[in-house]
């Protein structure tokens, strides 16, 4: 097990270098960040040259990348063009997005797994059919529709919540955005759990457990659910990464100044240090989430072993 973890960690190094380089090249290819600084006015050539020099933008791409990576290993992610350090930006953005992600994941797990189990056990019944229809609807409604709608109804019409989340983004203000963010994944979790539960419910070991006379609750939680959760855990693991970086729509609707928004703004303003820095961290989050998922398999199913 220990050796397995070490091997996986070592594998992360080439993935890490490869992704950062790709992102670096892509952001570089987007356009000229210095021209964007000047807006509709053609940049004053002398000032633009000075800015390029100060930001190392006049050097070849590979040199720029090496200089950038060299700094990253000393913990310096560079400076956003507005003069703020990227580390500082991350310090405010990541905790906010992390809170949002946790809210969303918790909702997904609790509601999704519950609905999945209920409908899986009563396959073909009324509950099952309505859950299926409901998830289909949720999957087909885009996030910006559900988000804007909930925001208008709860925020403006009924005044239950404030439409915009305050800059500090405390947990209680993140519940509605969390629900919006969770909705689509929630539908997938429900469907995955339902199929998995429905299949396993007819497995031999469940019949054995039933024959032993075990209480129904115990059969469902200890035997059925535990075996049915493997695909769900895989999905959730990948989802953590996706939610951390892909919450752009939700974050913009609810005024959450998290990772998605910073990435969006960084891309718009061609701010390569911001984009590369944030994506680098996201890559690490993804890699670690995946490792944790793989380790969880062994916990859920003792037959899976890692050497």
């Amino acid at each position: 097990m220990g050796r397995y973890v070490i091997r996986r960690l070592l594998q992360m190094i080439p993935v890490f270098i490869g992704t950062t380089f790709l992102i670096f090249v892509m952001v570089y290819a987007l356009g000229d960040p210095v021209a964007a600084l000047f807006g509709d006015r053609a940049p004053d050539p002398a000032t633009a040259a000075q800015i390029r020099k100060d930001l190392n933008l006049d050097k070849p791409l590979v040199t720029q990348y090496l200089l950038y990576m060299g700094k990253i290993f000393t913990g310096d992610f560079g400076t956003a063009f507005n003069g703020q350090s990227v580390t500082e930006l991350m310090g405010t953005a990541f905790p906010i997005t992390l809170r949002l992600t946790i809210v969303a994941i918790v909702i997904e797990m609790l509601v999704g797994v519950f609905l999945g189990v209920v409908s899986g056990l009563r396959r073909g019944g009324g509950v099952d059919t309505s859950v299926l229809v409901l998830t289909l609807v949720v999957i087909s409604v885009p996030t910006f529709v559900s988000g804007s709608l909930l925001q208008y109804l709860l925020g403006v019409k009924w005044k239950v919540i404030d439409p915009a989340v305050s800059p500090e983004a405390p947990l209680n203000e993140l519940i509605v955005p969390g629900i919006v963010l969770a909705l689509i994944s929630l539908a997938y979790v429900t469907r995955l759990t339902r199929t998995s539960v429905a299949e396993n419910a007819r497995a031999d070991y469940i019949r054995t457990a039933l024959a032993k006379g075990l209480p129904r609750r115990r059969i469902i939680t200890r035997h059925l659910l535990r075996n049915s959760l493997i695909p769900v855990v895989t999905f959730l693991g990948a989802d953590v990464g996706a939610l951390m970086g892909g919450a752009i729509v939700t974050e913009r609707i609810f005024n959450i100044q998290g990772v998605g928004f910073q990435l969006y703004q960084g891309t718009l303003r061609q701010n390569s240090p911001t984009v590369v820095g944030f994506v680098t961290i996201l890559v690490i989050v993804f890699l670690i989430a995946n490792l944790l998922v793989d380790l969880l398999y062994a916990v859920l199913d003792p037959r899976i072993r890692y050497a």
Partner: protein, 547 residues
């Protein structure tokens, strides 16, 4: 000042907007009720400024908003008439339009207690011009003698200060320009020319965290990316003391969210109503919606560096395309009257006296599809059978109006493939292509005035090799008239010479005037007396908060 990439502002003064402006300054509390609370805080929408908040480094509206609250310059533009009036300056005199003597009023102070004297201005301007400080507004100082030494085109600066600036005593300094420029005093109201306290240089990092100026407000706290709290500065002795206790600027990730917050009563002032809300803004806000002219001019430029578009023979082609655009219909149905069809190359905020003149463009700006097709056919048809319109489409509603313009051209040509939109994903990429002269059809150009002077609408845009001459238009006759106008001592004559230059532009037609853009804003029931200045920035000092 460039038009911000998020161009969602307005034109077409409605009677409503006019009535709102005309009550500016009066104490008429129109909504909310209750006596105004002089210590009430106004919350207002904001987006993070693109560059550090230094006067010579800010050329967009959001940073300009703050500078406009914490600084006061030699001149100030009247929020209603755009007239430049002496503020910190006692007098600005010249006998030859090239050497200016500026004297300051006594008693002006920065909010840290230090006095505003000649040195505050001279040092600030020298800082702004020096190449190694890489201030993006540096070219504004290029009128001043000695600029070439502190800001050479290549290499390092040969001097640290401009020889054209001389401090005479605490309240007097002289400015020598490189050439005659009658309008020079008017540009001194622009942010780049604000004075700076010594603290700016002695502890720059601390100053950036909490800028200190000489305006009616002072910065209480500033969290980058989240917001800024400004409070009324009691030591301010200028004529426009704040009628409220302060302003809370809140950063919004999306203007639509700010709009929702305004509806829910959590936000007092939202400038720049998002385009998607324009159809319903009147029913949502009623009389709390402002839509008034701003100094923003939108146009389509031709790449004059390409012979198929820039040659003499292509003149009819350019005019024909302009004539094929149904401006009135587009401004009405797409922009909901937040733009007004343009008929010259300036802006109505200049007023007639300032050089705005309806109809300079003449027939090419009047929609006439039949005549348009005739002109284009006479010029040999569209080059390659089609024309593209390029713009970034990441912000604003550029895609929508460009499609409409194309449809209008296609209808006129009777060919639904005559005009195609060439969307460029980001503003930065679009600018890169424009600067690199890679345009091969019409492309979007926008101009937000820096100061209310007809010179600002013509010289930076159409003078040979000027900083924002994206079409690379060049006509010696135009240049000559601009030079003459700048050297003219009589202001009215100077303006009319600029108008002569504009007529040259109308004959050559390198740029299609589209529309004048308005400023839009909405406000909540708890504030009153909200107005926009000609730069479409809310006049914060006049806002009253009801209890």
């Amino acid at each position: 000042m460039r038009a911000s990439p998020r161009v969602t502002r307005v034109v077409g003064a409605t009677a409503l907007a006019l009535s709102l402006i005309s009550c500016g300054g009066g104490g008429g509390s129109t909504s909310g009720g209750g006596a105004p609370n002089p210590s009430g805080i106004v919350s207002s929408s904001w987006t993070d400024p693109q560059n550090p908040l230094e006067p010579a480094n800010t050329n967009e509206v959001q940073g300009g908003k703050v500078l406009n609250m914490i600084f006061r310059g030699l001149k100030q533009y009247d929020p209603r008439t755009a007239e430049a009036k002496n503020l910190v300056a006692q007098s600005i005199t010249t006998s030859d339009q090239q050497n200016f003597t500026i004297t300051l009023k006594s008693g002006w102070k920065f909010s840290d207690g230090t006095p505003v004297n000649s040195k505050s201005f001279v040092d600030a301007w020298n800082y702004g011009a020096l190449l190694t400080n890489r201030q993006i507004n540096a070219p504004f100082f290029s009128y001043i003698d000695g600029y070439a030494e502190v800001h050479p085109d290549s290499g390092s600066p040969k001097a640290q200060t401009m020889s054209g600036l001389q401090v005479v005593d605490d309240s007097t300094f002289t400015v020598k320009l490189t050439q005659k420029f009658t309008g020079f005093p008017v540009i001194l109201g622009y942010a780049a020319f604000y004075p700076l306290p010594q603290a700016f240089y002695s502890d720059h990092a601390a100053w950036l965290k909490k800028p200190v100026g000489n305006g009616p407000y002072q910065v209480d706290s500033y969290t980058r990316g989240q917001g800024m709290k400004l409070v009324k500065w009691d030591g301010y002795n200028g004529p426009d003391k704040a009628k409220n206790g302060g302003v809370q600027l809140k950063v919004y990730t999306d203007n639509n969210t700010a709009y929702t917050d305004l509806q829910a009563g959590n936000l007092d002032v939202l400038d720049d109503i998002p385009a998607s809300q324009l159809p319903n803004v009147k029913s949502d806000l009623g009389s709390r919606y402002i839509n008034q002219p701003a100094g923003i001019f939108q146009s389509l430029s031709f790449p004059m560096y390409r012979s198929e578009w820039g040659s003499k023979d292509a003149l009819k082609l350019r005019q024909g395309l302009s004539m094929a655009i149904d401006r009135a219909q587009i401004t009405k149905s797409i922009f909901m009257d937040t733009r007004t069809p343009a008929s010259d190359w300036t802006s109505p905020v200049l007023k007639e006296a300032g050089g705005y003149k309806q109809g300079v463009c003449g027939s090419p700006c009047t929609y006439d599809p039949k005549q348009a097709k005739k002109l284009i056919d006479e010029a040999g048809g569209l080059p390659g059978g089609k024309v593209t319109i390029s713009s970034n489409v990441d912000t604003g509603s550029h895609r929508v109006w460009m499609d409409a313009v194309c449809n209008s051209i296609n209808n006129a040509m009777g060919n639904d493939k005559a005009c195609v939109v060439n969307p460029v994903s980001t503003f930065a990429d679009f600018r890169k292509q424009v600067v690199a002269k890679q345009m091969n059809g019409m492309f979007r150009t926008g101009w937000q005035m820096d100061y209310p002077l007809i010179q600002d609408f013509l010289q930076p845009l159409y003078y040979t090799n000027a900083s924002s001459n994206d079409s690379h238009y060049s006509n010696p006759n135009f240049d000559k008239l601009v030079n003459e106008a700048n050297a003219e001592s009589d202001v009215a004559k100077s303006v009319s010479t600029f108008q002569d230059a504009e007529k040259v532009l109308a004959q050559d037609f390198p740029v299609v005037p589209l529309w004048y853009q308005n400023g839009t804003a909405g406000y909540s029931k708890s504030v009153s007396n909200v107005a926009l200045d000609p730069f479409s920035v809310p006049v914060y000092t006049g806002i009253e908060v009801s209890e």
